[in-house]
């Protein structure tokens, strides 16, 4: 007899959208498809890369309401950014299981409300999250008396109250959710990381062959503290004059002026900025070209860094901020520094720069850790186990269907 397979409606941004969650889904979907029947829902199906369109049924989000009776569960990949507006509003109307990539959703809510000229919507959300105090805060924001509390107020309450269950990527976020919504099923599933082999050498990338290379990768934002890292790097160069710093990724906003910093310090030959790297394999090659990856984040919005994970998977020692998910990484696969501690950062850089054996050992352990914890196959199975757990809790799904002769999955 044919085993019964769950039918899952899967909502996520997908490549070529420039989003870490699009890449995340791209790596997870083939493994998940071996275990459940997937239909993908996106804002614009025609824009999705051909390989996914050939492999999956890709539908427009607007089609879901009429089709929802065909699915055993909807999975919503939600992050704190503009690519998730349609997903977020569909989730609120037709709840399912949420995969919460960031604990804070304030940027997303601002995009969905104020970004669309709907400041009343923002006030409503603040009221929902914080009660009368939230209304007062939001009105002050509207009058220009204060800025948006983007890193102080998570604004995830409505999403948590809507969700049938939540999948998160760290114990840190799970703990925070449990403190506020103790009865909501919340499961930790590590983020999947595909270990791409490095396709391009240092020479191919135009990097100096023998230099000590440090790198930061991903979108260049203020929270990633690239300037703090570059300041430490400039001091490191007193001892390692041949050291080079790679900045791999785009500058989406105006909050960091890399060129200005480089000009001021006269380090045009020592800092290489690649801009946005389209191909994930090429992105991994850039990371692999480095001897040390610097992946700082402050303040954290409860995210898991795919870039840090790619660095670990590529066998590179990573310097991280000792905060949020980063603090959960084992001590022997990375070096943790207190947020904003420039001296500690320099000391960590110096320690790794001067000890090749340490770099190699730490890199080896990092790659092992990434494979053990973040292997996409393992993650896909954990997804299925989590879905089963949540479905059993909320809808009393039986383990077998009559006549199926098999477990659901």
């Amino acid at each position: 007899m044919k085993p019964v397979i769950w039918r899952i409606a899967y909502f996520s941004p997908l490549p070529p959208t420039r989003s870490g969650i699009a890449d995340y889904s791209y790596e997870l979907l083939p493994r998940l498809a071996q275990r459940v029947d997937l239909t993908l829902f996106v804002a614009d199906p025609d824009r999705v890369i051909r390989s996914l369109r050939e492999q999956f049924s890709v539908r427009a989000i607007e089609e879901y309401p009429a089709m929802r009776w065909e699915y055993d569960m909807a999975l919503y990949q939600v992050g704190n950014g503009k690519h998730h507006e349609g997903i977020y509003s569909t989730l609120l109307r037709y709840p399912g299981i949420t995969i919460l990539h960031e604990y804070f959703l304030h940027h997303l809510i601002v995009d969905c409300t104020i970004g669309r000229g709907n400041s009343a919507g923002y006030i409503r959300e603040m009221g929902y999250g914080l009660g009368a105090e939230g209304l007062c805060l939001a009105r002050q924001v509207r009058c220009g008396q204060r800025g948006q509390p983007l890193f102080e107020v998570p604004l995830n309450e409505r999403l948590l109250d809507s969700s049938l269950g939540v999948i998160v990527h760290s114990k840190h976020v799970q703990q925070r959710i449990r403190e506020r919504r103790p009865h909501l099923p919340t499961v930790v599933v590590p983020a999947p990381i595909q270990n791409y082999s490095s396709v391009l050498s240092r020479q191919d990338l135009g990097c100096p062959d023998k230099a000590l290379i440090l790198a930061s990768a991903g979108q260049v934002t203020k929270q990633k503290q690239i300037i703090l890292a570059l300041d430490a790097f400039a001091r490191l160069r007193d001892e390692f004059p041949n050291a080079v710093y790679l900045v791999v990724g785009e500058e989406p906003g105006q909050d960091v002026d890399l060129n200005d910093w480089i000009q001021q310090h006269g380090l045009q030959n020592a800092v290489i900025c690649t801009g946005y790297v389209h191909d994930v394999q090429q992105f991994t090659s850039w990371i692999a070209a480095a001897d040390v990856l610097v992946n700082l984040r402050y303040p954290t919005v409860g995210e898991t860094s795919a870039t840090a994970l790619r660095g670990l998977a590529a066998g590179r020692p990573v310097i991280v901020s000792n905060d949020g998910w980063y603090a959960e990484l084992p001590d022997d696969v990375c070096v943790k520094v207190l947020p904003n501690d420039a001296d500690a950062l320099l000391a960590a850089m110096r320690r790794l720069a001067s000890d090749e054996l340490l770099r190699r050992e730490m890199g080896r352990r990092a790659a092992e850790y990434a494979y053990r914890q973040h292997d996409p196959d393992r993650v896909a199975q954990m997804y299925v186990d989590s879905i089963r757990e949540i479905l059993t809790n909320t809808t009393n799904w039986p383990k077998t269907l009559p006549g199926s002769g098999a477990e659901n999955v």
């Binding site: 609120l92 929902y128 009105r139 009058c143 009393n396 269907l401 199926s404």
Partner: protein, 119 residues
Amino acid sequence: MNENLIAELEARRTIHEPPFRSDKPIIGPLIAWFRAAWNSVSTRWYVLPMLRQQNEFNVLLVSCLHKMEERLGETDERLIDLDQDQTSLTRNVAELTYQLVRMNRLLAAIETQLNSRSE
């Protein structure tokens, strides 16, 4: 409603009779005295009752605004409660939808099993 604005209205609700002044050197006090004297003869008896009337109106208006603010606060709280109830109900509907989907699948499986037995 802006609490600061109401507080400012409250502070300024009473209109006072401004004393007459003159900036002219030496004869300034004389001018001020003359204006005050003329005012008390010609207009004060007429303006003062209006001033009182205006002050009474202002007190009433500020008190109304206070009450409205209270009411708005209560409405805000009620709206938040309704919003939370609606979210909870939407979640319940979703749960029921998934349960119906599950029951449909169970029924379909039972039907298939019965059909295969009867054949």
